[in-house]
Amino acid sequence: MLKYLSKRLFFAIPTLLIISFALFAILDLAPNDPTSNLPITIPPEVRAEIKTSLGLDKPFHIRYFKWMEQFFINEPLNLIEEITGLEIGDSESRLRVRSWSSHSPVVDSIVERLPQTLWVVGLSYVFGILIALPIGVVSAYKQYSWFDQIGTFVSMVGFSIPTFFTGLVLIVVFSVWLSWLPSTYDTTHDITDLSSLWYQIKQMTMPVLVLAFYNAAQLSRFMRASVLENLNLDYVRTARAKGLRDRAILLKHVLRNSMLPVVTMIALGVPTIFTGAIITEQIFRVNGIGQLLITGINSADIPLVQSLSFLFAVLIVAFNLIADIVYGILDPRIKYE
């Protein structure tokens, strides 16, 4: 297991390094000027000074290593300090990744925005899984029944309709026609009593529903295919031949085996729903990290965009690793390959 793990880890680190370099290079090579948004009355000398103060006059490799130092050493140290309250070294003069538009440290605004995204994304994923797995199993077990027909149709629809359209349809139905739910997400809302908790649930319903529907559609298709594949295997026939009841075969043998690829799929899907949340947050005005990215892009805030994109890359690589590990634990055959 340890050997298998270290092999995976050995691949993950260079991957991240190359991605960080690629992200840095793309943003750096682009014809873009941080001072272009400033008023045209500012003379060129001042513009040059602004660029110097941002460190833009340094050569490419120095800026890249500076950014790496800030991102991999300084920012984690700051986070540790904030969590534990300890002071490590000279924390005041430590260089931080700062936003070009707000001038506050990028990591601070990410930490501030992260809870909203995590709540919406996390809940929708949990709901999506809880809906998808039973539907997939029943669909496969009763293949071609009316339940399966409807289930596959709905999942095909959910998988094909883009989330930005489902979101708008929900707003039209539940906010405009029925006026049950608020169409925008109020992030300043505090939960103090039952009625404010109820409001919080109401305002989270639609964003969670949109993403949950999309995730459930994808997962149930996958679950159905996986169960179907297992139902035709020899061990099911053996189990049936020795007189096991269908229920026991399905729940004990088939379910366990068909969960293998599904669990990997669930782990691999986590980063995609974070990027999917970019669109959902935009529709419902949830001020999570997806919206932060869009505002960063619209104001050409390179350090912010760089850090956020890299954060998404870290998520993808981390969950790939988790998927590998989980698969290795669940299926001992994998380790020996």
């Binding site: 691949f11 991957t15 190359i18 991605i19 690629a22 992200l23 793309i26 943003l27 682009a30 014809p31 873009n32 095909m156 629809v157 998988f159 094909s160 309709i161 883009p162 930005f164 359209f165 708008l168 349809v169 707003i171 039209v172 906010s175 405009v176 169409s183 980063p271 990027t275 999917g276 970019i278 669109i279 935009q282 529709i283 990215l293 869009i294 892009i297 619209n298 050409a300 965009v305 956020l308 994109s309 890299f310 998404f312 890359a313 998520l315 993808i316 690589v317 790939n320």
Partner: protein
């Protein structure tokens, strides 16, 4: 003698069943899936409508007429008008043209890249490792943020070179193409590895056929079916990606709106009385959804048709 011929005929039938030609696949898929048949019908209708429709419905989608802004459905404007008086039906038709053009062009680019990478990785053992690592690397990229960033950074530069509409078209096709070839490459590599071991490739190698020639005349024709499935599903995902980019305001501009952009422009008016918002949201939204849904149904049926486990049931 007769028996031998029979056996040979039987073998060729069996081979045809195991390795149906691409057109056979389409036939099998449409014959056995009702969904695919309906999907093909709907998709043909949409393609015909956006291609031929503007020839009959000759209203200029860019014509702004403040006198008739925010109008509902009428004989003059079958889908009403938007907030600056542009005709919605004309916009949906022309938006569909661009959306489908982007979808097909991006799919072709991604298919080309995926096939080249996949065939080379599968055929030349020495390049297999590096090319597959490259594929893994691309799969680990945060694609949507990356797409947004690239578009933001290069939009203006390309606009200056190729003009407003064509510049953004090239950019979007390019970014979608280079970020979606990985699945195709993996599938093509797997198929190439399998075909490479077959006797006819060995025979071709033994008479001194060059690698390039073997790939083009022996391998590619034999892996056409999985490539076709990739192509179908690729169109659907390219259309979704383009409309998502436009919906975030980073795709096509309002002057050349695609379905995604029409949705983006219509969304802020939701719930505001007498603004024709219902049509402005639902017309492009349903257009995108129906297109993608029908293409996905066709793709699903094709995938089933090339899968011998499903086909021989």
């Amino acid at each position: 003698m007769k028996l031998e011929n029979l056996a040979r005929a039987d073998l060729s039938i069996q081979q045809a069943r195991e390795h149906p030609s691409p057109w056979m696949i389409v036939w099998i898929a449409l014959k056995s899936h009702k969904g695919a048949l309906v999907g093909a019908g709907v998709f043909s209708f949409i393609v015909l409508a956006v291609l031929v429709g503007p020839l009959f419905y000759t209203v200029d989608p860019q014509l702004t007429d403040y006198a008739v802004r925010n109008q509902g459905i009428s004989w003059q404007h079958p889908l009403g008008t938007d907030n600056i008086g542009r005709d919605m039906l004309a916009q949906v038709l022309s938006g569909g043209r661009i959306a489908l053009a982007v979808g097909f062009a991006a799919m072709l680019l991604s298919l080309f890249l995926g096939t080249v990478v996949g065939v080379i990785a599968g055929y030349y053992k020495r390049l297999d490792g590096p090319l597959m690592r490259l594929t893994d690397l691309f799969l680990a990229m945060p694609l949507l943020p990356l797409l947004l960033v690239i578009i933001l950074l290069f939009r203006d530069a390309l606009r200056d070179i190729f003009g407003l509409e064509f510049g953004i078209f090239i950019l979007i096709v390019f970014v979608i193409g280079i970020t979606s070839w990985m699945q195709t490459a993996r599938i093509v590599r797997g198929e190439t590895l399998a075909i490479k071991e077959r006797e006819f490739v060995l025979a071709a190698t033994s008479v001194g056929t060059s690698g390039l020639h073997i790939i083009s005349t022996h391998i590619l024709p034999n892996i056409l079916s999985p490539i076709m499935v990739s192509a179908t599903l690729g169109v659907a995902s390219a259309i979704i990606t383009e409309s998502a980019l436009s919906f975030l305001g980073l795709g096509f501009p309002s002057d050349f709106p695609t379905w995604g952009r029409l949705l983006y422009d219509g969304a802020p008016w939701i719930g505001i009385d007498s603004t024709n918002w219902l049509v402005r949201v639902f017309a492009p939204g349903i257009a995108i959804s129906l297109t993608v849904l029908s293409v996905n149904y066709i793709g699903d049926a094709l995938r089933d048709a090339i899968d011998p486990r499903v086909r021989n049931k």
